[in-house]
Amino acid sequence: MDAKKVLVSIKALTKRFPGIVALNNINLELLEGEVHILVGENGAGKSTLVKVLSGLYSQDEGYIKFRDVSYAPRDTREAINTGIRVIYQELSLIGTLTVAENIFFEQLPKKRGLLDSSTLNRKAQDLLERVGLDIAPDRPVRFLGIAQQQQVEIAKALAGKSQLIIMDEPTASLTSKESEKLFAIIKLLREQGKSIVYISHRLKEIFDIGDRVSIMRNGELVDTCDIREVTTEILVKKMVGRTIGKKIPFLESHNPDYSTPILSVEGLKRIGTDTSVSFSLYPGEILGIAGLVGSGRTEMIRALYGLDPKKCQSIKLNNKPIDIKSPRQAVKAGVGFLTEDRKDEGLLLTLSSSNNLTITDLKGIAKHGVLSAQVERTTAEKLIQDLQIKVQSYRQIVGTLSGGNQQKIVIGKWLYKRCEIFIFDEPTRGIDVGAKFEIYNLLWELAKKGKGIIVVSSEMEELIGLCHRILVMSKQEIVKEFTRDEFDQEKILRVSYKNYV
């Protein structure tokens, strides 16, 4: 590091959201011509930091300087004009336009008000050569593969004279060969004096391309160091830390019944993947599924529930083989799914609480197909009472409830269906801390009643505080099972990285 100039300097940056501090007093310098790696657990604050840099969020405290000039973009456009551009995981090119049109989309060359195609394609050709992409500039983007689209994105960044290019998990959907090519481009960009912020879960590749690495944890920047000075071990240790703030009190008094599994899944294989998973769930057990974002946790659950096509050797419920081809069959078998996205998939937002609570079993509140308003009301009021849902009345529209109460409504509707198995995907996402504990208590109540509970969560503390067992997924596979006495945040995290290293 021979006295490189500072490109971006971030000072005392703090960003708060209702209930949490997403970024806490971040101090960071990005140098010209460096590849700066950003690592951290799910929810450590990496994305928030990127969003502040790219103008999607504005900070609450602190400031950023770009080449010694104060930098506070109001939107992404301003960030791009300044010279900072993000290449997201989901590429944002327009499929029907040509490569050249995409590259220069923000500043299409014009001649007498019309598009100047020849200049456009010539300039695009130059940039394509710079990123090593051999493709006709007038080819529509939709014919390109993911890796090529990524190269177009990079060319686009260069066209906009971007000085800092932020890449969020760029290799997530690339083959190893394509990744190699990307790394070559990154090195090329570095030689041209561009700065790159590189976010990745894949700890192996960062050692190949990085200059420096910053580790984030719980919204704080733990450390920034030279990549040659650290090892995977050290990084993981720093990501986990030793300070576990709020402790979730585990329900010691209750023990699952480990005699026969309530659900056993063998050889569950999602269409489109090569790996399969097998696991068992026992009555009264809370089974956690850990893993990095993109490790296939949610996908596995959705396939199991019949939402996505799958092949499966066997699914047994209380030792009886069943087939789940659709959510309908899953529900019939006594499985309830509480999705990560409550608003889009869980709730009927514009309908009343009672309508939502009873939707899973309308026959239960009807006689010969005719609904009984009275039965619906008493059913709903009982659930509201049992779950301590804070509503004005059973008629209150669920869209107006807080996140915690909305989640309780979803739990309530599956309780009403008398489900034996509850699958929670991120049970406390978007729920404030106080309500979180109420949800945990409800989970324990369910466990005490002998229900089987699966919890997919990105919050390690939640899993460790809540579960009897934890399965760790890495790259579509269950790589390890931890029993409660083996729980160790660091070990679990290290195993999560297993298939990526």
Binding site: P18, N355, V370
Partner: protein, 344 residues
């Protein structure tokens, strides 16, 4: 356990609690009043204005006119309301109505003996054809995941063409007198046509199905959030098919009633009626986004359109201006409705 409970309240700040309360109150206000009260008030206001400005408005013959005009639109709009509540649309109803009318017409033209039997068979055939068309709309839209708008635009042309072929593009007439009598009979001192009662009956049955049955609840839920209903363990395809079939059948009923009233069946009848039915549904407060609506609202919507047209004619407003005013009313209704939507 006590400890956690206590802890949970520490984190709820006062402002957050107040915010929640405010949201609750707002939510309750919007929905405590009856869905149709606003639209009903508009209708009453309209009736008052017209009865004051046009003295013949309340004459027996004019009332009969209004009821007759409302009838066909209301019948079509009942099926349409169901389709729109599930988030769909059906543009084929006008053509299906014609196809139903001419199918019936084929059976009952110049029948000498046993007219009752032919009428019965004719009605059943008309309803069957229109039901099949409705079901087809649903099947195509669901199987290939196409927008109902496009699918029904296609079947709109198919049904119209079929009606032309069946009749050789000619008008069918000389129907049995029993059939014609039905379309032109009245009750209550000659003020209310019998066919209006058919429309009223469909509205009441429809409202019952929508608000009081398991099927109706499913329809509303599917229109609100189809994915959520699917995850809750219901088939979301079959209810949609049923709703499209229902819409076909009501269009078929409209065709039969119309033929009976006009005493002829003509392959071009019902052109543009789909738009009137959609307008009545929307004015009645059914949301084009799905998930919300009522048959009573739709009925009031059809009444508003009928009364408006009739009143403006009585006042001597010319046809073109009348059309413009109707257009404004439709837009106004949608604007008013957007204010009633809860902001989530």
């Amino acid at each position: 356990m006590n400890l956690t409970k206590k802890k949970s309240y520490e984190f709820r700040t006062k402002t957050m609690y107040n915010m929640e309360l405010k949201m609750k109150r707002k939510g309750n206000n919007v929905f405590s009043r009856s869905e149709e009260s606003g639209i009903g008030a508009v209708l009453i206001l309209m009736i008052i204005v017209f009865s004051l400005s046009a003295p013949q408005f309340f004459s027996i013959s004019n009332l009969r006119n209004i009821f007759t005009q409302i009838t066909i639109n209301t019948i079509i709009a009942t099926g349409m309301t169901f389709v729109i509540i599930t988030g769909g649309i059906d543009l084929s109803v006008g053509s299906v109505m014609a196809l139903s009318a001419v199918t019936l017409g084929k059976f009952i033209t110049q029948v000498e003996v046993n007219p009752g039997l032919y009428i019965t068979i004719g009605i059943l055939a008309g309803l069957l054809v229109s039901g099949i068309f409705g079901l087809l709309n649903g099947l195509i839209a669901e199987k290939w995941k196409l927008p109902a708008f496009i699918v029904t635009m296609g079947t709109m042309n198919i049904a119209r063409g079929a009606a032309m072929i069946v009749t050789d593009a000619r008008t069918l007439f000389s129907f049995p007198s029993a059939f014609i009598k039905f379309g032109n009979a009245t009750i209550l001192w000659n003020s209310v046509p019998i066919i209006f009662l058919v429309a009223l009956f469909l509205v009441i049955v429809g409202q019952f199905i929508l608000k009081k049955t398991v099927f109706g609840r499913l329809i509303i839920a599917i229109g609100t959030n189809r994915q959520s209903v699917k995850i809750s363990g219901h088939s979301t395809v079959i209810p949609k098919l049923i709703v499209f079939a229902m819409c076909g059948v009501t269009a078929g009923i409209a065709g039969i009633v119309y033929a009976s009233r006009l005493t002829v069946a003509n392959p071009i009848l019902g052109s543009g009626y789909e738009l009137n039915a959609i307008a009545a549904t929307i004015i009645g407060g059914t949301s084009l986004d799905g998930g919300k609506g009522s048959l009573f609202g739709t009925f009031l919507g059809a009444c508003i359109m009928g009364v408006l047209t009739n009143g403006l004619i009585l006042l001597g407003v010319n046809d073109f201006l009348r059309q413009m005013i109707t257009g404004f009313v439709i837009i106004l209704a949608v604007i008013l409705d957007s204010y009633r939507k809860p902001k989530l």
